[in-house]
């Protein structure tokens, strides 16, 4: 690939020529193909482990079919997520819109300049100097989120909302406020967005004349700056001071996003701060948003795709401990869906699963496809269990409908539990993770339940993370009125699931009965004033709560079955956490080192794998060198390193290495005469190439001028 010295002497090949071009066109797009049966790519439906014979028999599907399925599903999920987030922000957006109108009215109250004054290329300084003419109305939108990436969509939605309310909106990012471009840079962006044309010499008077020419004095100009903390303070201050001067001619209203309340104070100098007339607004917390998204995507709305316990736990931990952004969670869901469609071809063929009402749709009208799907379904591991001996039964009735039913029940129970937990700081994601481990759940709840009956005081301190148990405890401690409300909401949630709904109704009737009785008792109590009746009331209430708690426990045990036990669960649930983690995070620092230290695992050669991780002369040069690096500290003596490398390359075995270790100091060795021959040069060249490759990977740094004999090791440990 690289031009060698020889190739320089002769005209280079196109590939070599391209290697030295900063960029080149590899090829242009082929003309669009008309979809014909012959040109369609065929993909294998069989699992990896299926033998060749079965592989030949399996049916094939079109790539486009998979892609269409992805588009269909992801569009629905994306739409659901956007709607959920919009609903969360709707109240704040309305408040902001109202405030914008009030602010605009306040500016207009200072007087509307006539056309002659308005078109002059300088600002108007109002002699009356009301607060509106001296200050810039600024909405400070508290995001409560250090990770700004989650709010990008929020600010975009806010822009859309304000535009729909008749405002002119421009959205700036922190990149527009760079010291390099100065205030001209952000002004350019402003003009570009308001005027919708690019202007080379930006000037605020252009905006003023545009606003006047538009004759649109009824609409305020709103400038949204999404992340003030990352803006260059001096540039932002310049812009604020300038806009303040022009505020009568151009009624600009600022909306700035901040993560903390003191962000503006930290970013802006005092003279700019004095120009602002602030008003605070607050967005929902990341946890609230996460719960809303999980509820909508994984529970309420069904898109024919869900995630298993390992993936959910990984995503929860990733959200809580590592990344902390809803954006990465959504991205992870998307990656999981892509991987699921790739790994499990049946999943995209069963369109009926997306539509919960449709129980018969099975890959559309295509009979061939239907047969292929059934064949593949029969091969799924979850259907291959010994209990599933009746392979001739109706696959849809015995399998897929059961899967749907399981999911419905599971979601119903989950929603009921979350109804209790959401008012007690239990997040849905935590609960969701726990509910996906029914083995632990059942053993734990039953154990706790038994103990609970015996001794109430034992559970004064709840186990951290034991959310289902916490919920049972909460139910037990709920006041009678709250319990009634809870049962009412459960009744609504369980509609359509007869078996659970009837039980809830039964409990409701008991509660009504109990509710009436205490009242009667209380009346009696007021008359009799006996301590005995008080005890009775308490006992009745406790019995009721016990009954509800028992109901929760039984429901969990009955309906929260392990996903793995459900036939065809692979069609819906994706749980390959390793695959997802690799695609989502990458981790090149660890992986590249692991590649070098375990090169034989990738190259699969017989010669290197014999010695395990011990360096052998047949190993890849860079692998040898990096393995040797592990013996050094942060500084590596070039000579020592080369000698070690040379000893391995030319004298394989441990003895040589030991001899080298026992040899005198580098200075003395330098003086020793070694026979120079052709192989020496090639060893040196191999060494040089390996060092260069380590340098490219960033695992070592070259010698400094101060210490020319030493290289610096950069990475330590995997």
């Amino acid at each position: 690939m690289a031009p060698t010295a020889d190739s320089v002497a002769s005209p280079p090949t196109p590939a070599a020529e391209n290697d030295l071009q900063p960029f080149f066109v590899l090829h242009k797009a082929a003309p669009p193909r008309k979809p014909t049966g012959k040109t369609r790519r065929r993909i294998d439906l069989s699992p990896k482990k299926a033998d060749a014979k079965e592989k030949d028999n399996v049916q094939v599907l079109d790539d486009n079919f998979r892609f269409e399925s992805f588009n269909l599903r992801w569009c629905k999920i994306d739409c659901t997520i956007r709607n959920v987030l919009r609903e969360i922000n709707a109240r704040v957006f309305e408040e902001i819109d109202r405030w914008v109108r009030e602010s605009f009215d306040a500016i207009r109250a200072c007087g509307v300049p006539n056309l002659a004054r308005a078109t002059r290329p300088h600002p108007i300084f109002n002699g009356a100097a009301t607060s509106a003419s001296r200050q810039l109305f600024t909405a400070i939108l508290l995001t409560k989120n250090v990770e700004f990436v989650d709010d990008v969509l929020t600010f975009a939605d806010l822009g859309v909302h304000l535009r729909s309310c008749g405002c002119h909106v421009a959205q700036l990012t922190s990149l527009d406020f760079s010291a390099k471009n100065g205030v001209g840079g952000c002004l350019k962006t402003l003009l570009r967005q308001f005027l919708t044309v690019g202007i080379d010499a930006p000037d605020i008077s252009i905006l003023a004349s545009w606003y006047t020419e538009q004759g649109n004095y009824e609409s305020p100009l709103v400038v949204i700056i999404d992340d003030v903390q990352r803006c260059c303070g001096s540039v932002l201050a310049d812009l604020i001071i300038m806009l303040r001067e022009w505020v009568i001619k151009i009624p600009i209203i600022l909306i700035v996003g901040v993560a903390t309340l003191d962000a503006l104070r930290n970013t802006l100098p005092s003279n700019a701060l004095q120009c602002l007339s602030p008003c605070g607004f607050t967005l929902g917390t990341p946890t609230e948003r996460m719960d809303a998204v999980v509820e909508a995507v994984l529970l309420k709305h069904y898109h024919g795709f869900s995630i298993g316990k390992q993936v959910t736990t990984f995503l929860r931990n990733f959200f809580l401990r590592h990344d902390g952004t809803l954006t990465s969670f959504i991205r992870a869901l998307k990656i999981a869906m892509v991987q699921h469609l790739l790994v499990e071809p049946v999943s995209f063929a069963l369109e009926g699963l997306i539509n919960e009402e449709d129980t018969k749709s099975f890959g559309g009208e295509n009979t061939l496809l239907r047969e292929a799907m059934i064949k593949r379904c029969l091969d799924l591991p979850s259907y291959q269990r010994p209990s599933r001996s009746n392979r001739n039964g109706d696959i849809w009735d015995c399998g897929l409908s059961e899967l749907k039913r399981f999911r419905k029940l599971w979601v119903c129970v989950a929603m009921c539990l979350f109804e209790v937990g959401k008012n007690h700081k239990i997040t849905l994601l935590d609960l969701y993770c726990e509910m996906l481990e029914p083995e632990k759940l059942n053993s734990r709840t039953s154990r706790h339940f038994e103990l609970e009956k015996d001794d109430h005081s034992l559970f004064g301190g709840l186990q951290k993370g034991d959310f289902v148990h916490q919920i049972i405890q909460i139910v037990r401690d709920l006041p009678a009125m709250e319990l009634c409300k809870l049962l009412k909401s459960w009744e609504i949630l369980t509609r359509g699931i007869t078996e659970i709904n009837e039980k809830v109704k039964e409990l409701q009737s008991l509660t009504t009965f109990d509710e009436n009785r205490p009242r009667r008792d209380l009346t009696e109590t007021s008359k009799r004033h006996t301590a005995k009746s008080n005890i009775n009331v308490k006992r009745d209430g406790t019995t009721m709560k016990e009954k509800v708690a028992t109901f929760v426990d039984c429901t969990i045990r009955q309906y929260m079955r392990p996903i793995e036990s459900i036939p065809f669960n692979e069609i819906v649930f994706f749980d390959n956490v390793d695959k997802l983690r690799t695609a989502l995070i990458g981790d090149p620092r660890r992986r590249i080192q692991a590649d070098l230290l375990e090169s034989h695992k990738f190259l699969k050669c017989s010669c290197c794998s014999k010695n395990g991780s011990m360096p052998s002369p047949s190993m890849h040069d860079t692998s040898i060198l990096y393995t040797l690096t592990q013996e050094h500290g942060d500084l590596i003596n070039l000579h020592d390193w080369f000698q070690s490398f040379k000893s391995i390359i030319s004298h394989p075995g441990l003895k040589a290495k030991q001899r080298l270790r026992m040899s005198p100091s580098p200075k003395k060795r330098k003086g020793s005469k070694e026979p120079r021959n052709r192989s020496d040069a090639s060893i040196q060249a191999e060494f040089c190439r390996a060092v260069t490759e380590l340098q490219i990977t960033g695992l070592i740094r070259m010698p400094s001028k101060r210490r020319p004999d030493y290289l610096q090791r950069v990475a330590f440990g995997l």
Binding site: M1, A2, T4, A5, V8, A9, P12, N18, D19, L20, P22, F23, F24, V25, L26, H27, K28, A29, A30, R33, R66, E147, F148, D323, T327, S328, V338, L341, L342, A583, I585, G586, P588, R591, I592, Q593, D595, S599, F602, K604, C605, S618, F642, A681, S682, Q684, A685, E686, C688, R689, V691, T692, E693, Q695, I696, T697, L699, P703, V714, A715
Partner: protein, 338 residues
Amino acid sequence: MLIFNVLLQELRDAYANLEPKHEREINDLMNSYKKSYPEWVFILRCGFGLLMYGFGSKKFLIEDFASSALTDYSVVVINGYLQQIHLKQVVITLAELLWDQLKMHGKTTWENVPKNQQPFNTKSMDDLIAFLDGPHLEDKECFVCVVVHNIDGPGLRDSDTQQYLARIAACSHIRVVASIDHVNAPLLWDKKMVHTQFNWYWLHVPTFAPYNIEGTFFPLVLAHSGSAQTVKTASIVLQSLTPNAQSVFKVVAEHQLAHPNEEGMPLNNLYTICRERFLHLKSLYRRSANRNFLLHLLLKARSTGYLSTDDCSIIVESQNSGSGGPNFVLDMMRWRQY
């Protein structure tokens, strides 16, 4: 000194003729990735960018993937391992390719495209990016693929370039396939870039292939004398120059060939010839004063005492004797038809 030079030359010869180890296994490894090509295409179609990492040069792998599996889309390759890359030129090319592709599809909703389309090379970067991001087609399948070798390479490593790359990657009609080699490459991007713009799908694809072209710019650790430059390095530098600068080099090279016994070309002569040929020398010399890589790599300017007659000479040393110095410069230029 002579012995040192001989040894150095011997080392360079050996370096140029190094035989790859495990060639068959590396080929097998590369071939093993071929079965994943359809998956990678599907991931691209779903809107992700592919980021390939793992030890070994991924240049061949990615280009093979692009050549064999991305034939439905135009593909532009950026060689990030080079020292200087003009991103604006790349974006202009992308816009032109997209324009061609849109014309080919013939289903455009031409709302955002004016009939008298302004040439792309006169448009600003913002306009070009807006064009790439425009909703020209309802079909999400119309995109141009950008292959970036070493997106963490020296030519692309600065923050501004990465921001531009991220903006390009976020465009609806662009998909990016990139490779990284440095273990700390993710530090180049913030979460907004990773999650919403590049939208990376990480692929671990160690190839163990030698970093032939990527390693060209790195000096050999055992020949770290500093002054000696290789023909390979020089050829890359020369090709990244403007035509004006290349012509100036040509003048120096011609003079050096015509006067082999002289130590260099007097600067006033160079000025005169450049003026005759309408070549602009001042900017070239100023670059040198700014310690730009250019003259440090290829030219040596000397001051000889009182008279201040600076001489320029070409100091390229070849990896194999006979193809270095002025001859090499002329050869390079002849190929490029300057």
